[in-house]
Subunit: 155 residues, 2 copies
DNA sequence: ACTGGATTTGGAATAATTCCAAGTCTTGAC
DNA sequence: GTCAAGACTTGGAATTATTCCAAATCCAGT
């Protein structure tokens, strides 16, 4: 049960991510990010807090929320909210989709087919699908118009 | 700005849906369902409450939550939760996908291409996509095993 | 009309997240 | 190295969204 992800790797990734946005590398951010990488299930903020606090007892919930938001903004983790209940976080950056179990509320990664690359995917055996849908994120026409019209120079 | 959806149609649909599960047809359920059908954006429970209460002042928030859950169970509406923040509700039963605007937090229906039927879709002009993913719902292998093994007779 | 169960209601309770102000740490300028 | 400014963390309060609960009401069947 040794660490699966070497800490050097964690540090480098985190550094890269933070650098892009001019944020600092801190002990808390490092520890929380590392915690997320060591067990790639889809923990809630509360779960992350408990796991991380075990090794860093002074850690506060506020910092966990702050850091999770930061990591999402840096593109180092994904936010997963597909049902009522606490938001989950995903540290698997490979392109993948999600399966949500209606019985146990578990979230599972569904990898894309490495051959065909895109929307083709393995559905691991044993899963029963009752519904699926595509979720797009981006900017709607109205907001795009607003941004272009106002001609702001940002992003 | 007359009612777009005739009340007879609403009543019939609701009756059918409720019948399946042996639930009663009530004034509140009718009114809330009708409210949802008249404006097919993706309102939160709070928004549904405000709209519905305008014409039925005694209506309570608890009933709105109860009824929304009921309608979801009956398959008359869909629950839409793709971000932090209040759950939204969708009364469009046509097969469609969702677009979530990162700027205004709006939710938009993305219809499937009527020709090809399935995963092909029109992306209406003006939308900018930054990310998309497929969301599956159903039962995971472990829960399937539990259900089959236990051999209970229910659903 | 009467009864049992379903439904509605207002308010309390809980869960999840956000906000805030005070303390601490880090970085860059001197 | 010292110092100031800004970034970061922290505990707790506040807010938001939802759920829970017990009492009142409604309804269907008898
Ligand atoms: Mn994932
Ligand atoms: Mn919709
Ligand atoms: Zn499951
Ligand atoms: Zn928008």
């Amino acid at each position: 049960m040794a660490k699966k992800v070497p800490i050097d790797f964690v540090d480098e990734r985190l550094n890269q991510g933070l650098a892009k946005t001019g944020l600092r590398f801190t002990a808390q951010r490092r520890h929380i990010y590392n915690t997320l990488l060591q067990k790639r299930d889809h923990p809630s903020a509360e779960e992350v807090f408990m796991r991380a606090k075990a090794e860093m007892p002074e850690l506060s919930m506020a910092t966990v929320y702050n850091t999770l938001d930061t990591l999402v903004k840096c593109g180092l983790i994904r936010q997963v909210t597909h049902d009522r209940g606490p938001t989950r976080y995903c540290s698997n950056l490979q392109k993948h989709h999600h399966f949500y179990c209606n019985e146990c509320n578990g979230v599972f990664d569904i990898d894309v087919d490495p051959e065909t690359g895109e929307p083709e995917f393995h559905m691991p055996p044993g899963f029963t699908i009752s519904h699926w849908e595509i979720l797009f994120r981006g900017v709607c026409p109205e907001c795009n118009a607003k941004k272009n019209g106002a001609g702001s120079s940002r992003s």
